[in-house]
């Protein structure tokens, strides 16, 4: 009995240390979360990313698995974020006619909206007394996670924290957007989808694509624009803001 128990423990130690665990757990938990999401009629609060993160974090805590040993397996999924950013070229290319016709409005909305999200985060965080490296990690949170990490590093933030903020911003926007848009009278699917893609990046776009094809297309367009604009403009705009805030 005792040997059986200890060999089970040994087996678990082996599994938890091998990349197999992180990869398998991520995929299985996500599939279950997605099944739950469709069972709940895709209610915003049942978001599969949110529940996967919560369940996996609980699983790590319950089994005493460290994040690095989990990530040894999960990195294979994580790695695909890079090619996924490149893949945004495809929905942008598909909407190239509209992009050409409406680009002044779209670029303006993405730029102003993205700047409003970043500036309000930095200002609110500063008003609440958050430290400077946290503010720098908050600024790129509307840009999709892999790019947000790079931008945060440039700004003197903490890349891993920036990625978490980006994911949380995606979730918050996805959960509340419907009610906010209804309350403000933002009815056009283009505007609803575009705002979700601009502010809540990939997670918001994934939601928009499920709700309405026009909203989804504009969300993908916004996601691509925001990746380019955010990476280009945030390193220019945020450092002066941070300097100005620390002087005041």
């Amino acid at each position: 009995m005792k040997t059986g128990m200890s060999s089970f423990v040994e087996l678990w130690v082996y599994l938890a240390a091998s990349p197999l665990f992180g990869l398998t757990a991520t995929l299985v938990v996500y599939l279950l979360a997605q099944a739950f999401y469709s069972r709940m009629q895709q209610a915003p609060w049942a978001n599969p990313v949110l529940w996967s993160v919560l369940v996996l974090a609980g699983l790590l805590a319950a089994t005493g698995t460290t994040y690095p040993s989990y990530f040894a397996g999960a990195q294979f999924i994580h790695f695909l974020l890079g090619p996924a950013v490149v893949a945004l070229a495809w929905p942008m290319w598909q909407r190239r006619v509209e992009l050409r016709q409406r680009w002044p409005a779209l670029v303006l909305a993405a730029g102003v909206g993205g700047a409003a999200a970043a500036a309000s985060a930095v200002l609110a965080g500063w008003a609440l007394g958050l430290p400077l490296d946290v503010l720098a990690s908050l600024a790129p949170k509307s840009v999709t996670a892999p790019v947000a990490m790079g931008v945060a590093e440039q700004l003197g933030g903490i890349p891993a924290l920036a990625a978490v903020f980006a994911v949380l911003t995606g979730l918050v926007g996805t959960v509340f957007a419907k009610y906010l848009f209804d309350a403000l009278g933002v009815q056009r699917p283009e505007a609803r989808g575009f705002a979700l893609g601009t502010v809540s990046h990939g997670i918001g776009a994934a939601r928009a694509m499920q709700v309405n094809p026009v909203a989804g297309a504009y969300a993908a367009l916004a996601l691509g624009l925001q990746v380019v604009l955010g990476a280009l403009l945030l390193p220019l705009l945020v450092p002066p803001l941070l300097v100005w805030l620390t002087r005041t």
Partner: protein
């Protein structure tokens, strides 16, 4: 495109059913993935070599956008891109779980961070949504996603 409801019940079938012009050549998705990785690599080389302020994948996006006008690669890039973007939300999970590594920071500032995230996200959504709706007010509603020889059969 992203995690679809069908994807939940038939996770294996979803990427296979990638809506590319039939008959899809086998190996199209792999060629596309190779093309995306090549674009990303080129982006990394450009970013480092020229000391550009843009991250490698973003430059890769721009390279891919230029490349898509060249029809021989379009179908394969489309196949790989549809597959990746269909499961986009899955790709955020490993990073999201990283929240466990910042427990100290979160327990100290968690409530304030949550407040900041909520407020700034709502501000961003409201500004973007209202602004674009105002800018498009004289324009006709958007049509459904463009139909071309490679477009998906999204509903």
């Amino acid at each position: 495109m992203a995690a679809s409801p069908e994807g939940a019940s038939a996770p294996v079938a979803a990427p296979v059913a990638t809506p590319v012009a039939a008959p899809a050549r086998p190996g199209l998705g792999l060629q596309g993935l190779a093309a995306l990785l090549l674009c990303q690599s080129l982006g990394e080389v450009l970013a480092r070599g020229l000391n550009l302020p843009l991250p490698g994948p973003v430059l890769g996006l721009l390279v891919a956008l230029a490349l898509l006008s060249w029809s021989p690669v379009r179908a394969s890039i489309a196949a790989a891109a549809e597959m990746l973007l269909q499961h986009l939300s899955l790709l955020f999970v490993p990073v999201g779980v990283g929240v466990v590594t910042h427990v100290a920071l979160l327990s100290q500032y968690g409530l304030r961070m949550a407040l900041v995230l909520l407020l700034s996200t709502l501000v961003g959504l409201a500004v973007t949504g209202l602004l674009l709706q105002a800018l498009l007010r004289h324009q006709p509603p958007a049509e459904l996603p463009t139909v071309n020889e490679l477009d998906s059969d999204r509903p």
